[in-house]
């Protein structure tokens, strides 16, 4: 890989010397673990769902090259390009979300999937990162030019997006989008009391979800008190970690995937725990922490508010999603339909994560003053 000379001024050559190669390595490692775990966990699920045993493996391997190209291509973009394309993509996503509600496919009582040319995709996955960039742009623009209606637009787009996502309903994604939006607001310099009241508002929103959404209520009840309902998935998940021990049962040797319905997606972390063991799982946790924290540290040296807000938003979504997935597998919070970036199987989610990570890499590239304004 290091065949690019420092003086190489070709597009790829410049990319190689300016991109954060440590984060890139961590991402490649995550993709490798994800592929291995998809191989191990998805056949059991595929057979149960009536597919060919390698159904998910094949699909994962088809999506992988696209994801890799996506990461590299997006990370080649300049911040300005990122901003422009994101705004455009975000508008398309809003349209797509509206379409999903109208003509989407219903799975397990939620309408989240849009079928395009025989390929289903979850538009929320794409709306999420583009929204983080749009929000960053609106806030940064407002600070740069006080006359710009940044806050109004930010609140309007937030309400529209959250409304569409909650309508599906997808509380988990709404939670991630909302939390990161508030974090960006906070970074944008809003007075603390506003941030605090927004926080309270968020808590109130979650509480109302408990009272108004039956499946949420049920999940939280069974999490708090296992006698009130069935916490079978959580129990099995913890069994898996205990079963795996320090060194794991070996890839493919686990049993939890046979008893958990979403072993290849929501509970892939438990499969990892059982088959790869504590040490490797800790390595995976470290890889996530490394990507997020290293990204955040790099933005500390950033001179541009838009870049800072955008990359923090993207990193935050990435990290929060990983944390939620791991925490629910470890019974630290109620089970939540959230994939573990790169590790879980998921065609469109893999592409969306690739785009998101591509943008992070693009925004955290080392730039000369010239490059920034390009």
């Amino acid at each position: 890989m290091t065949t690019f000379s420092r003086t190489d001024t070709s597009v790829l050559g410049r990319w190689w010397w300016t991109v954060d190669r440590w984060s890139l390595a961590a991402i490649v490692a995550l993709i490798a673990f994800g592929t291995m775990l998809t191989l191990a966990s998805s056949p059991a699920v595929a057979i149960k769902m009536g597919y060919d045993s390698l159904h998910f493996v094949t699909r994962h391997l088809i999506f992988l090259p696209f994801a890799a190209i996506g990461i590299i291509f997006v990370s080649l973009l300049t911040p300005t390009q990122i901003r422009r394309y994101s705004v455009l993509a975000f508008l398309f996503c809003i349209l797509g979300l509206a379409l999903t509600l109208l003509i989407g496919k219903e799975v397990n009582g939620a309408q989240r999937w849009l079928s395009i040319a025989g390929q289903t995709l979850q538009v929320t996955e794409f709306a999420k990162p583009t929204f983080a960039v749009v929000t960053a742009w609106l806030f940064a623009e407002k600070i740069r030019d006080n006359k710009f209606p940044g806050y109004t637009l930010a609140i309007a787009s937030f309400v529209i997006l959250i409304g569409l996502v909650l309508k599906q309903p997808d509380l988990g994604q709404s939670f991630v989008i909302g939390t990161i939006w508030m974090a960006q607001l906070c970074l944008a310099g809003l007075p603390i009391w506003i941030v605090a009241s927004l926080f309270v508002l968020g808590i109130a929103g979650l509480c109302s979800a408990y009272y108004f959404m039956d499946h949420v209520k049920q999940r939280i009840n069974s999490f708090i008190d296992s006698s009130m309902g069935d916490n079978y998935q959580g129990e099995r998940s913890l069994d898996a970690f205990a079963n795996g021990g320090l060194f794991g049962r070996g890839p493919g040797e686990g049993t939890v995937k046979n008893s958990l319905p979403d072993a290849h997606a929501d509970f892939v972390f438990a499969v990892a725990g059982e088959e790869l063991g504590l040490i490797i799982v800790l390595v995976i946790v470290c890889l996530f922490a490394f990507i997020v924290l290293r990204g955040l540290i790099r933005t500390m040296g950033e001179g541009d508010l838009f870049i800072l807000l955008a990359s923090c938003g993207l990193l935050g979504q990435f990290g929060l999603q990983a944390l939620i997935n791991m925490a629910s597998s470890l019974q630290l919070m109620p089970a939540k339909g959230m994939t573990l970036p790169f590790i879980s199987y998921g065609g469109s989610s893999l592409l969306a994560i690739a785009l998101s990570v591509g943008m992070i890499l693009a925004l955290t590239r080392r730039r000369s003053g010239k490059a920034r304004n390009e």
């Binding site: 069994d239 046979n258 799982v281 955040l296 019974q331 630290l332």
Partner: protein, 563 residues
């Protein structure tokens, strides 16, 4: 220019603020990852032991506390035990696709209705439904392999009798809730519930098997309606084998007929006929009322009250006491009994346990039916086993008492070399004479088919008309034989009763023809199993056992060697 500067400064200030807040946020994120890592170590390592235990014990303890002790025979062979039986259950709340689940289950359990399964598994309001109780381990494995979420197994304990119908009348059976309903299962219900240690019976399944097989063949051959047989340890009262035919499968006791469930060995009471001459002769000798050489005129039938007492094998001559016994003369026996005092028989029968229910550990035991009073006529008929009904077990126990002098309580439980106390009923001298007489029967009469080469069997036939209503049915018999071996030092008593055998070649199916061969075949097979050594009959020390009266039948003086 001013605006440019002011923008730069606002921008700078905003950046500063953002970075300080970012530092705080970053710390939160780092802390969150740390929590995940700590929790990971916690669930994997620190909880590993406790969780592993729960995983392993989950299967083992699922309803598996042995609630009932095993039952074994005297050699530890399993007669009754509990099996952990899987049952198929469903949790409709967890089942994802009831239709698919039902379809796969029916492949393995074709006796289930698919539509019913779909209905059961679709009842989303329920968390537990029984789909099928008592499936086989293979079916459990096959269904488990399907990996249907929400379909699970619940384990129940089921009583199982590996010897099936072989020991059913002794061991009994239970209901589905493992409560004893018959046999030892009923009689020892509390003990079996409280103990974990197996309950040891005195039965020996090997002997049981031989006795049942031989009886079954004979009943089949003579088209009899049933029969009973017992092998009793003469020195302890332990029941080594206990057979009542027809019998039934303990697992299907609900469908068994009353006749199959009726224990003819202990519950049924019968007039056992000439077997009672053993007791009569013993009473006569023990009481001193008669001597061996006392003789009676058995040429004419006795007319008394409205009865006629006649002999079947009429000898038409004056008979001595041994001759009366050996030729089984009713007239002679009645004449002997006529000499007894009023209460003598009654006392003696009481000592032999013939007038009260047996002590055996079964609920199904018959109460003997003695004559209404002990008037002379009844004393005379009782002498040859008419007018008194006892169970075959009573007879076997009493015969054991006669041949070893002591009466032992019959039992179904193994006696672990504990000293057994018997009650003295007759003197050693009388007992010895009785043994010799019993041996004579086997050597000289129709009872000879009971002999088993070199095991020295002694015994007595019994052929009784079945009582019907107030009288007797001459065409229906209870044909019996009671055998004792080795007669030189009696160890075991074998009694066989065949109920209503039919004629073969126009020959009366008497005890000698029907029951004696069974006893002979059984003894020749079980004696080696029970550790009884064969004896060379013509060896000098054995010869003396023989009563040599065949050489001098006319002589009134019997040359009986009495020690």
């Amino acid at each position: 220019m001013t605006s440019r500067v002011s923008f730069e400064s606002t921008n700078k200030k905003a950046l500063e603020k953002a970075k300080s807040r970012l530092l705080f946020g970053g710390t939160l994120v780092a802390a969150a990852f740390l929590v995940i890592a700590v929790r990971l170590v916690d669930v994997t390592i620190l909880n590993e032991e406790s969780r592993k235990n729960t995983i392993e014990t989950r299967n083992v303890t699922a309803g598996i506390k042995m609630s009932r002790a095993d039952i074994v025979d005297r050699n530890g062979i399993l007669l009754a035990t509990n099996l952990r039986t899987p049952g198929l259950t469903g949790n409709p709340k967890k089942v994802i696709d009831p239709i698919q689940a039902a379809r796969s289950i029916v492949q393995i359990l074709p006796e289930l209705s698919e539509t019913k399964l779909v209905k059961q598994l679709s009842a989303k309001s329920k968390e537990f439904v029984w789909l099928k109780r008592e499936i086989t381990p293979r079916q459990e494995y096959e269904i488990n392999k399907l990996g249907i979420i929400g379909v699970d197994f619940k384990y129940e304990e089921k009583r199982y009798w590996p010897m099936r119908n072989l020991t059913v009348h002794a061991v009994g059976y239970t209901n589905v809730d493992n409560k004893g309903l018959a046999g030892i299962e009923l009689f020892c219900d509390e003990i079996l519930k409280e103990n974990q240690k197996p309950l040891e019976l005195s039965l020996d399944v090997r002997v049981q098997q031989v006795l049942r097989r031989e009886m079954y063949n004979q009943i089949d051959k003579y088209k009899a309606i049933g029969g009973s047989g017992i092998v009793l340890d003469a020195e302890t009262g332990e029941t080594i084998a206990l057979v009542s035919l027809p019998d039934f499968m303990p697992h299907e006791a609900g469908t068994a007929t009353d006749n199959e469930k009726f224990n003819k060995a202990t519950h049924g009471i019968y007039e056992l006929g000439s077997i009672f001459k053993i007791f009569n002769t013993a009473i006569a000798l023990e009481s001193g009322k008669v001597k061996l050489d006392t003789s009676y005129d058995a040429r004419k039938p006795i007319y008394i009250s409205r009865y006629i007492i006649r002999d079947y094998h009429a000898q038409n001559k004056v008979l001595t006491v041994p001759e009366i016994f050996i030729h089984s003369s009713n007239i002679g026996s009645a004449l002997i009994a006529a000499e007894f005092d009023r209460s003598l028989q009654q006392k003696f029968f009481t000592d032999l346990g013939l007038l009260r229910p047996s002590s055996i550990e079964l609920a199904a035991k018959g109460t003997p039916k003695p004559p209404d009073n002990w008037k002379k006529i009844y004393r005379m008929t009782v002498s040859y086993g008419h007018g008194i009904s006892v169970s075959p077990l009573h007879a076997a126990t009493a015969v054991a008492a006669i041949v070893n002098g002591n009466h032992y309580q019959a039992t179904l439980l193994k006696k672990d070399n504990k000293p057994v106390h018997g009650t003295k009923v007759i003197s050693e001298k009388t007992s010895l004479i009785m043994r010799k007489l019993l041996r004579e029967v086997v050597l000289k009469t129709s009872g000879r088919s009971a002999d088993a080469a070199d095991y020295l069997v002694g015994g007595k036939t019994g052929t009784a008309d079945k009582s019907r209503g107030g009288g007797y049915d001459r065409s229906k018999l209870i044909s019996s034989f009671v055998g004792v071996f080795p007669i030189t030092s009696p160890k075991y008593v074998v009694i066989v009763n065949i109920d209503d055998p039919k004629q073969i070649n126009k020959l009366r199916p008497t005890g000698g023809r029907v029951a004696a061969p069974v006893v002979g075949r059984v003894i020749s097979e079980i004696a080696p199993l029970l550790g009884v050594f064969p004896v060379m009959v013509n060896a000098p020390d054995i010869k003396g056992v023989s009563l040599n009266n065949q050489t001098n039948q006319s002589s009134r003086k019997q040359r009986i060697a009495v020690n």
